[in-house]
Amino acid sequence: MARAKSVKTKTKKPTAQKAVASKATKAKTTIPQLEDYHWDALNCCGCKGCIWVDHVYCTGVKYGQRCPSVHEYELDTYSAIGRNKLALGLLDGTFEFNETTLDIIYKCCLCGACDVGCKRNLDLDPGMVLETLRIRAVEEGKAPLPAHKKVTDKITSSGNRYGSSAGSRANWLPKGIKTSKNPEMVYFVGCNSSYKDKNIAVATAGILDAAKVKWALFPEEACCGHPYYVAGMADETLKQAKRNIAALKKSGAKTIVTSCAECYKTWKVDYPKLMDKPTEKMGYNVIHITELAAEKIAAGKLKPTHSINLKIAYHDPCNLARLSDDWVPWHGTRGKWGVTEPPKQYRRGSDVPYQPARDILNAIPGLELTEFFRIKENAMCCGAGGGVAEAYPEMARNTADHRLEEAQDIGAEAIASACPYCNDNLSYAAADRDRPIGVYDVTELLYASLTGRGI
């Protein structure tokens, strides 16, 4: 048991915490609350570990930061430090939700860069402060933002973020591909690949087929709820979670494969978080197609043989990388020196699939994998996350452009990612800012190498 055994002094609770008496904490809920992270906000000492790249991996001034908000808006206000202080002010009644506070809260990609940075030295949870700020904004009736509401209304009405018909969701499925009646796993395609970037879904299905996996489409698939969650609409996300989990149970499958990083993280982290359960006790496994494909390549069951002559950089999608550690609930107390009892398990972005996509790209003949200056836990977000693409498109494009510039600075001809939203935003920025650099999904590249089809 990790406790300060030799010390018997009573610990005083912070005054501000006493002052907080929100309706939300009084009602029984499994949804995380801002008050749960008061200690984290209070004990942020402003070191800026949330902003800088891990010093060991720092390469210099130009790419020395990893916080997209501070990169764009520069004021400390837009860092986790500023948002922690804002959270304290909202909790003790100094501030209220208004145009300015909502602006500070939502001009953030929820990319987790601050969270892993903070957990290098302080083990605070700034990521959860950011998320619960949004949840509180919605609870208070001040959010979602109009731009987010546009998207979430479509999910509510049609089950997908584009407002397309539910019946056409699987229209992308090529005729030649047969799914199994007794699947080992179900493919949760996601809204983007179902309706927009269908090539990712086609490639994923092709890879599953080539790997001789018994798979089927997720039954009656509807949006995973990620857009709800980033807007702060926790209740709606929870409803979506329950709906999707029930559908999964009905199918009998225990494993979900995704090709979308956002769906992956939602199933793996956010559903357990909102249900207050550890990921391992959810009764299902979630894997990303890159994890599965890398394993099959290593086992010799997938053989990429066709050359793709490209010098390519891999962009770590936040939701597949540093944000995707298993969720482990903690309901304990802090004793002397802030020591947690029972000991809290920290999610540091260190037990996540950084490597599979790299292994796939390395296995493709002709492809030369080069690395960004900022990779893995230090990667710069593409800029689309956290609802920024919808509410603050200029920030989203500027951030993507910064990432494209980094790719060019390392001599990459193209970028590969494993998230359709990263691909979208990076592609859009490349066209918009006239940067001659290709953007691909890892599945597209692998499928092309397996089949000889062009990319």
Binding site: W39, G46, Y57, D76, T77, V339, Y354
Partner: protein, 529 residues
């Protein structure tokens, strides 16, 4: 609020994106809730009323002139990693200097010209690409190069690279009048290669041994010395938080020695200097070794509380940590290792295994982990003295700290972090204290008493010149004890350069008195005039 006219004038200078007076925006810059938890932050900390982010030296000049015109107090800061550099007076205009990110390295003349927003990790990373290096300070890799050179800049590597005042070369210094002074060779040309310059060397006023925390003007650009390193790569390894730069062991290595006594450890440090070998020589607090091994705060406390005989372990620990670098060749390392081992043998020291990578001091220094242990940290002294004198102060402080444990974390008599500087010409002591910021008011007030009253009194009694005291309170509490007129001279400099006292008021000389006067639980213990 600052006057609307002044706001609009500053907005004209920097553009609307770079100025705000919205309270929710300004709150980010407060020290009050910034987690420092020190008495200065709690008692004096205030939100600024306006934040501005200038991008050029000229913009800063114009802002300073506008502030003077409207008699607005302002505080400049780079990374805001020191309570004295934060807003602590009413109606503060806060200058966030993070946009000064220029960095030019002159590999031939071995120097780097940095903007005020550049941090040490960035400078070191770029310097290493040229086979050059500098130290990374105790303040951490995340602190600004320019402000740290102005106020502190100690690390075990100062053993080799020397004190910061001698590493400063040309710089651009905006006086409280708004005029720019260019120091060193910048005064007569564009090349900042020469620190002393052709006229009087004003670095003594700019910084002296410790500096002014932004109360004598604003430095927007500074040229600092770099030093020759080797060209072997130091590959970054691992996933956060377990990351390090891997050492090429034929060119650089850490050595840990257990010395039979404190005296032997001190003599060992002097011997290294006499032999002119090594890149760093430092004694680290025992708790730091536990920090390095712990997987979490909970794990640290589990380990720290477990072993019996902790007092004996701590007071009997005389571990000297030495870094050798083969700057010119592997043979240099081989030679220095032979000399090192010979010295160790002569001092009866035993060589111990240690990890061969940079987890601190080259490019990474995690000062922030000082907060991680208990939630709050501060040093009660930081001083340059002879190695043995510094250690004596540490021993005195260990006794005093025992009286204040709790509220201070029990560290069983640890005598602080001390190291050799300038090949043993001087030593550096920093005495570290950790406490629980969420403790009862009674305990927090006791902590304040230790920091603001008992500690400074001990320093006066032991004749130790602490940087903290020098900057905090030479006015009445200790200034006259150090010399007949230091405090008067310092005040005259401030009067001459900043007659309106707009630049980081109220000045740097009276923080302790101000805290004591404003905190009733301290004021009642005040027994000096």
């Amino acid at each position: 609020m600052i006057p609307q006219e002044a706001y609009e004038a500053i907005e004209q200078v920097v553009g609307s994106k770079y100025i705000s007076q919205e309270p929710e925006v300004c709150r980010a810059y407060t020290l009050k809730d910034r987690g420092f938890h020190t008495s200065e932050a709690r008692v004096l900390g205030k939100d600024p009323v306006c934040v501005v982010l200038p991008g050029t030296t000229e913009e800063v000049q114009q802002i300073v002139k506008i502030a003077n015109r409207y008699k607005i107090g302002y505080t400049p800061s780079s990374t805001l990693w020191f309570p004295q550099a934060g807003p602590r007076f009413d109606d503060c205009l806060f200058l966030d200097l993070k946009r000064f990110t220029s960095l030019e390295i002159d590999p031939k003349n071995m120097n780097a010209t940095c903007g005020t927003g550049v941090i040490f990790a960035q400078l070191q990373a770029e310097a290493l690409q040229y086979g050059l290096y500098t130290m990374t300070p105790g303040g951490g890799s995340q602190v600004g190069v320019v402000p740290n050179h102005l106020i502190w800049s100690f690390s075990p590597l100062t053993y080799r690279v020397g004190m910061a005042n001698r590493r400063i070369m040309g710089c651009e210094w905006i006086l409280p009048s708004g005029e720019v002074v260019r120091l060193g060779s910048l005064a007569s040309g564009d090349d900042p290669f020469w620190g002393e310059g052709i006229g009087p060397d004003l670095r003594g006023i700019l910084r002296g041994s410790i500096g002014w925390f932004g109360s004598l003007g604003i430095v927007t650009k500074m040229c600092v010395k770099l030093f020759p390193f080797h060209h072997e790569p130091l590959p970054p390894t691992g996933i956060t938080p377990n990351t390090f730069l891997k050492f090429p062991e034929h060119r650089m290595k850490w050595y840990n020695f257990t010395c039979p006594s404190k005296e032997a450890l001190i003599e060992f440090m002097y011997d290294l200097g006499h032999a002119e070998i090594a890149a760093a020589a430092t004694r680290v607090p025992v708790a730091w070794r536990y920090i390095a091994k712990a997987e979490s705060k909970e794990d640290f406390w589990e380990r720290w509380n477990q072993s019996e005989g902790k007092h004996e372990e701590v007071t009997g620990s005389h571990v000297l940590r030495v870094l050798l670098i083969g700057y010119t060749s592997a043979k240099q390392l081989e030679y220095e290792e032979k000399v090192l081992m010979a010295i160790a043998e002569s001092r009866g020291a035993t060589h111990r295994r240690t990890f061969q990578g940079d987890q601190s001091w080259m490019q990474s220094a995690d000062s922030v982990s000082m907060w991680w242990l208990t939630g709050a940290f501060m040093s009660v002294t930081g001083q340059v003295d002879t190695i043995d004198c510094g250690i004596k102060t540490g021993m005195e402080f260990a006794k005093l700290k025992a009286k204040y444990t709790l509220p201070i974390m029990p560290d069983y008599g640890d005598q602080g972090w001390f190291q050799s500087n300038d090949f043993g010409h001087s030593g550096y002591l920093e005495f570290l204290n950790y406490w629980d910021p969420n403790d009862t008011d009674k305990m927090i007030h006791r902590m304040d008493e230790y920091y603001q009253i008992a500690g400074p009194k001990l320093l006066i009694k032991s004749g130790a010149l602490s940087f903290f005291i020098q900057t905090d309170s030479p006015l009445t509490l200790d200034g006259p004890n150090y010399g007949p007129n230091y405090d008067k001279f310092a005040r005259k400099v401030k009067d001459a350069l900043d007659p309106q006292y707009n630049c980081n008021p109220p000045g740097i000389l009276d923080v302790i008195d101000e805290v004591v006067d404003k905190a009733p639980w301290l004021k009642k213990k005040k027994d000096w005039d």
